[in-house]
Subunit: 160 residues, 2 copies
């Protein structure tokens, strides 16, 4: 496998402006932030119709994580030894390969090239890679289950 | 804004092996595919615990889309004039900036560096950028709504 050949270059479509400047694990529920699209690439037509959706998915780059922090094997979620050691692809830790975040958030308003959203768990200055409208048909199909440790971790994540 | 300076280089973590070699709009429900992690970067510890989740989110690169196909403004979804013209960020068309796909799919099995999944809407050979476990707490919070055209488009997408 030629690793060099397959690298992918991504050009951010915009930037997150958030009151949160540091990564904090909890209480994202009432955070209101703005996504500003890059005016050199886009005009307001690119956002036509987004407000007809209650939620969008934001794909962003976790620029606050340094390459040295990236975990490639297994670790205790939140570095808490009370949680089992699980692989980086079985947890949503930010210190992950490629440092890509994906979250659903509420669309509050769209004005020109600016989208105001609620509960986006991206810190201020995060480069945005994509915005997709949320469609219920894309929700998981069939029974959904997850381990107990993940419930504990998430209990206050979106608390207001 | 210095666009050159902010480009982000992504190194795929693995590859999708799917029976589907062409992008087809519908009937992804029964498609079973395998995600093979790159053995030069990862060992099986990176997937520990993933099978305790019913679903994962796969972030992948839609390599079948050429740069010339990318839409940056508004278009009719599926190029069907019966649907309203909406912005590229208000639809999930593959011909989008950065060509990143994000989908939930069922985790069927994990064996070494290989994850078998059901209903992943990525064609054969798609580079995988990340795998995240699906946690219900990350589902949209509050009322969810979406326009009628999106319901029509999705009606057979995950049909088996």
């Amino acid at each position: 496998m030629n690793s060099e050949a397959q690298e992918i270059v991504i050009k951010p479509i915009g930037t997150v402006h958030s009151p949160r400047v540091e990564a904090i694990d909890d209480n994202w529920g009432s955070v209101v932030s703005k996504i500003q699209l890059d005016p050199t690439q886009f005009d307001e037509q690119s956002l036509w119709g987004l407000l007809d959706f209650s939620h969008c998915e934001v794909i962003y780059f976790m620029h606050g994580v340094s390459p040295e922090q990236i975990e490639k094997t297994a670790r205790h979620p939140r570095n808490n030894v009370n949680f089992p050691k699980v692989g980086i692809f079985a947890q949503r830790a930010k210190s992950r390969p490629n440092r890509i975040g994906v979250s659903r958030c509420r669309v509050i308003s769209v004005k020109g090239l600016e989208v105001t959203v609620q509960s986006l768990d991206a810190i201020d200055g995060s480069p945005v890679l994509d915005i997709k409208p949320y469609m219920e048909e894309f929700a998981p199909i069939g029974d959904v289950y997850q381990p107990k440790w993940s419930r504990e971790i998430m209990s206050q994540y979106y608390q207001k």
